[in-house]
Symmetry: C2
Subunit: 271 residues, 2 copies
């Protein structure tokens, strides 16, 4: 999917919501456990109930790897289901990969080509040749960790590198990489004031924003400081939506929560 197609979807749906499909078997409705593939059935129900309210789904690969081969089958079925039934959805493999060049190429092929995700999240620590392989696919994107939403973000990301925080150096440096127009960035919602600084470096790039909801970030604050002319934001919510209920009505309740966010986004987009 091109960036323009993503922007068009945001305008059409009046939503820049991304729903994180972080499926934990201990948290999903227990009646699903009788089915052959409870994770896929859960995802399918959530997707069918919310696809008109969001523009993106983001399965976190850890939650699938944790169930071994069965987990990978669920991931594969989930991405295939989205691609076939809802091709207008921007899909994100939240994998946070990154390795030496030939190895990153294998990861990129696995997620962007074989599984056919629109994008994959990557870690910047190993630098240019660990990220560029993810940028080599037409109309596909790498979403690089810049400033994350967890406590540990302050261990290194905000450290002072020659007078500037590391996350800024990471973003600035990445702009010089080949096919950098295919880069998006992870910026946590728990630090809304940082968005002003980030927008000075990348005025128009898309930012994937975790941390709204369960982790305590504010949608209003993020949009105030982080929204660009072309919106430029994908706000992720996982637990707050998918675990809204663990009863028979889980999909319906997930829809209600997604709709609350979509309505708030609609108001913000009209401003």
């Amino acid at each position: 999917m091109t960036t323009q197609q993503l922007i068009d979807q945001i305008r059409l749906k009046k939503s820049f919501l991304c729903i994180g499909l972080d499926v934990d078997l201990t948290k999903i409705p227990q009646h699903l456990l009788e089915l052959e593939d409870p994770i896929f059935e859960f995802n399918k129900a959530i997707i069918d109930a919310t696809n008109d309210l969001c523009v993106s789904y983001k399965p976190n690969t850890a939650f699938y790897e944790a169930y071994g081969i069965k987990g990978w089958q669920s991931l594969q079925k989930t991405i295939n289901y989205i691609n076939e039934k809802y091709p207008e959805i921007f899909t994100i493999a939240d994998a946070k990969r990154g390795d030496i060049g030939n190895t990153s190429t294998m990861y990129a092929k696995a997620f962007l080509d074989d599984l056919n995700f629109d994008s994959v999240t990557v870690a910047p620590y190993m630098g240019k040749d660990s990220v560029e392989p993810f940028l080599a696919f037409q109309n596909k994107h790498a979403i690089m960790l810049a400033l994350t939403s967890n406590e540990g973000a302050f261990d290194f990301q905000t450290k002072n590198v020659d007078g500037k925080e590391l996350y800024k150096v990471v973003i600035e440096t990445s702009k010089t990489w080949k096919n950098s127009e295919n880069l998006m960035y992870v910026v946590g919602a728990t630090k809304a004031e940082y968005f002003t600084e980030i927008r000075k470096i990348i005025p128009n790039s898309f930012l994937l924003v975790p941390g709204v909801g369960a982790q305590g970030g504010s949608l209003q604050e993020v949009c105030k400081y982080g929204m660009s002319e072309n919106v430029g934001l994908l706000i992720n919510s996982s637990r707050g939506i998918i675990y809204a209920s663990n009863g028979i009505d889980f999909a319906e309740k997930a829809r209600e929560e997604a709709m609350k966010m979509q309505k708030e986004m609609d108001v913000i987009l009209k401003r």
Copy 2:
């Protein structure tokens, strides 16, 4: 496996060699492709031919993920085979994972518990709470990226953070984390002179050293600057050993290459 057991194995085998099982179907002997699981058959032959010459095997997960579900089956069969037949081997899942706490916990469980690897490689960018979940398993280890062997290492890892290179800040900070005695570090062989600096911070920690061989690093140089009293080094070689031949004799040739390295290591250990 405890660190002491690893040291005992090194003394017993007179080797601190780690063999990287980075299996690419386009590079393995073509007669294996007729078998049901070529990747596992390749690994099995390499392992049977080299296990007395090395102390560790390190499958890089990218090479398995690239083949989807079949790849994960090969990975599972490989680790099970090593654990059952050669329990004295120190196993490393080279996965370079790292995410917010609850997600890192899922990854840690997948690799250290379910797949039962002795260790897993992790990325430091997200800080303390992204790494600590990997340190919570008794007699298991997290091997954290410090200074990698690729060109991109100079993009951020060697940047000056308040008068000190980032990789040093990363190592120093990690020493304060819970169960930090379970930490080992990835340090590339292509920068042997850096080992002196690193040993000032962590005199005894184990270092996993890629970059000897195909990437151009020197075993002699690494040992000169990096060896500790308890050896403290695992030297990885992947392509130079496993792809020594792509004919019927591939396992035999791999053994020859592994033996060359083991003999060189034996001489170094006797000094």
